[in-house]
């Protein structure tokens, strides 16, 4: 009797292991038409042409790009003469700095977000407290923990530098009021930032092979784990709910229940950011914007509510392995930590976590991570023309 029980148990175990082995060693299934459509929507080739910025009359002016690039890397616009935009937005790190929170003159309040592709976003900053690249570019200059400069000092440097002043005058004309000149300087920086874009990654090459129906090329580009990770990414793991489109972000605000930064109360995020942007004098409807109010639909139709408590802007996932640590305060050090967090989806400390627990296994999480690493590709940006 006992022997028979033992034998049937061993047999059962053998069948189960065989089934498990079979399920995991099979090559991944081919993509369905629906899945191909999703893959195409994430493809860099699907990125629409950069929309114009009606608030910035020089947004696409090559001279403004050149002026803005020079300003971006100039350390004179800071209290200690050592901080430029590129101190935290380092091109070689996908325009981030590798730190939990930015460090300039002091320590910044949040993690340094990447600039790459943000020209497509209606909102800037983790909490969307600015609605244009040009108005965003001005804030760090006067933030006491970042450049710790001020608008008068910034204008004085531009006026006294012969090359800057020549470019300024041919773009914007003679000297004007302080706020007008200051916002013009932001518009030049924004013109440069609009050129900072992602480049083709191995994932994009893979989608090209999928679209062409070239299975040999697909197999050469993606390992089976990467294919499985991608299938989880667009399916069971619900990642594309927010990380959608060719930039892998919807540029909207979501509470995903991240833990507070050591010693700090939880960050309220968008619920505070939306109040600030609506009142800010440098917003799309303000006197220094070149837009007419008809162009400001995002600002005109934006909303607030308790669901925005603790909500932060979805970051792009392009080249994300070079943008660690992750989260609005850099709370998550590695991609493993990020995936473990979304797998557990803990209750939010403030507000309500929109994500639901995924209950994926370690193997599946590793497959998603393998896929995410295929998004690695450096950013491109306007280089010195001279």
């Amino acid at each position: 009797m006992t022997t028979r029980t033992l034998i049937s148990f061993v047999a059962l175990l053998a069948v189960a292991s065989a089934a498990w082995w079979w399920a995991h060693s099979r090559p991944p299934e081919a993509w369905s038409d629906d899945e191909v459509a999703v893959l195409e929507s994430l493809w860099l080739e699907s990125l629409p042409e950069l929309p114009p910025d009606p608030g910035n009359a020089v947004a696409d002016d090559p001279l403004a790009v050149e002026f803005g690039r020079a300003l971006f890397f100039d350390t004179r616009f800071s209290a200690n003469g050592g901080i430029s935009c590129a101190t935290c937005h380092q091109p070689e790190r996908h325009f981030t700095d590798g730190l939990p929170k930015g460090v300039a003159v002091g320590m910044s309040k949040r993690n340094t977000p990447s600039i790459v592709g943000t020209a497509y976003s209606p909102w800037l900053y983790w909490d969307g407290r600015r609605d244009s690249l040009w108005s965003q570019a001005l804030s760090p200059l006067e933030d006491p923990n970042e450049h710790a400069s001020n608008r008068l000092m910034v204008i004085a440097i531009v006026v006294e530098d012969k090359s800057y002043w020549r470019m300024y005058r041919s773009l914007f004309g003679e000297a004007a009021g302080v706020d007008t000149m200051f916002s013009n300087i932001g518009k030049a920086i924004a013109a440069f930032e609009r050129t900072v874009m992602p480049t083709t990654s191995r994932f994009d090459e893979y989608v090209a092979a999928v679209v062409a129906g070239d299975s040999e090329q697909q197999a050469a580009l993606f390992s089976e784990d990467e294919v499985r990770g991608l299938r989880l990414f667009i399916g069971e793991a619900n990642c594309t709910q927010c990380h959608n489109g060719p930039l892998l972000t919807n540029n909207e605000f979501h509470n995903t229940g991240l833990i507070n930064f050591v010693g700090e109360v939880p960050d309220k995020g968008r619920v505070t950011g939306v109040r600030e942007v609506l009142e800010h004098p440098f917003n799309c409807m303000g006197p220094h914007s070149d837009a007419v109010s008809r162009d400001c639909s995002e600002l005109a139709f934006t909303r607030t509510g308790p669901e925005l408590i603790g909500a932060f802007r979805t970051p792009s996932l392009r080249n994300l392995e070079n943008t660690a640590p992750y989260g609005h305060k850099g709370q998550l050090a590695t991609l493993v930590d990020v995936l473990a967090h979304y797998n557990a989806a803990p209750d939010a400390m403030i507000g309500h976590n929109e994500a639901k627990p995924l209950d994926l296994g370690d193997r599946e999480l590793a497959q998603i991570e393998a896929f995410l690493r295929t998004l690695a590709a450096p950013a491109s940006f306007a280089v010195d023309a001279t």
Partner: protein
């Protein structure tokens, strides 16, 4: 027998509320609530470094970074400056310390280990304090009524670094047993099982939905999207056409539009508005944008001389 059971249960419930209610913080339906006079807020404490996302109501296991969060249930608290104080328990009253005991303390500042000055917090209130030592503490939350100047306060004694549960598990176990026994005797247990069976639940949900379907029939709303079919992450406009059940266009109506994703408990990223009455029952709706793929509902509320109606438009993106 049953009669006596009810009396005993009643006594237990009374006892229960007295035992659980340490001053201003009580457990209600598994939710921790702080009562600042008649104003209530969800109350949560976290020890993020020691216990991650685990929630506490009062007593804290470790002398560690502690995060106190209040989510207002009364909007009035959004307009009242709130201050937050933690003192060492020098009243000698322990669990039974009340506002009177706190007011009797001569030098409150000397006993204070943490103080957050009064501030307006319109969305959610939180403070963080790192306890250096274990021991007994009292938390005091005060809210000032801006109109009358009256100060409302909540006092909650709590323990940091509590070591054991004492007789609590026994007591709670006994309570559950008695509750189950009572339910079994009164037939409620049986009823509960019947109620919880999914088929019955589904039928109930179906029945509840019926009047809603009937109600939505008063007006009929159709929409078109002149800029192409709705797709995510693009701001676009809708043209709404509102007609009565008999096909008469509804003109000059006051229309409000809201919406969201029921599966994610959130609304639209924008607040769309009807910007133009195009006549003949047509209205231009601007500022529509969806930011996630999946199932959405647009809720259109129509008020006109012909009546009022709310129509839900489902769409999947």
């Amino acid at each position: 027998m049953i009669g006596r059971g009810v009396v005993f249960l009643f006594l237990l419930l009374v006892l229960q509320s007295q035992v659980f209610a340490h001053g201003g913080v009580v457990e209600e339906d598994d939710i921790c609530v702080i009562k600042v006079n008649y104003l209530r807020a969800h109350f949560k404490i976290y020890q993020p470094r020691a216990s991650g996302h685990k929630q506490f109501c009062e007593d804290l296991p470790a002398a560690a970074e502690s995060l106190f969060v209040m989510e207002f249930m009364h909007d009035a608290l959004q307009t009242m400056p709130i201050d937050f104080r933690i003192i060492r328990d020098i009243t000698g009253k322990g669990r039974f310390a009340r506002m009177d005991d706190v007011e009797a303390i001569d030098d409150l500042d000397a006993a204070t280990v943490f103080y957050q000055a009064a501030a307006l917090e319109p969305d959610v209130y939180s403070v963080v304090h790192t306890f250096e030592d274990e021991g007994d503490f009292i938390g005091i939350v005060s809210a000032t009524n801006p109109a009358s100047g009256e100060v409302y306060a909540a006092v909650f004694p709590f323990e940091v670094g509590f070591t054991g549960w004492g007789y609590w598990p026994l007591f709670i176990g006994l309570l559950i047993l008695i509750q189950i026994q009572y339910f079994a005797m009164s037939g409620r247990l049986k009823r509960w099982f019947v109620k919880a069976s999914p088929t019955v639940l589904m039928l109930g949900a179906l029945l509840l939905q019926l009047p809603q379907v009937a109600y939505a029939g008063e007006f009929i709303v159709t929409y078109t999207t002149p800029d192409g079919p709705p797709e995510i992450n693009r701001m676009h406009s809708w043209i709404l056409y509102v007609e009565s059940e008999s096909g008469e266009p509804i003109e000059g109506a006051d229309i409000e539009v809201d919406g969201g994703m029921p599966a994610h408990d959130h609304g639209l990223p924008t607040r769309p508005r009807v910007t133009e009455d195009l006549g003949d029952g047509y209205y231009r709706l601007d500022g529509v944008r969806f930011h996630m793929s999946g199932y959405w509902e647009m809720v259109v509320t129509i008020r006109s001389d012909a009546g009022e109606d709310t129509v839900v438009i489902p769409l999947t993106l």
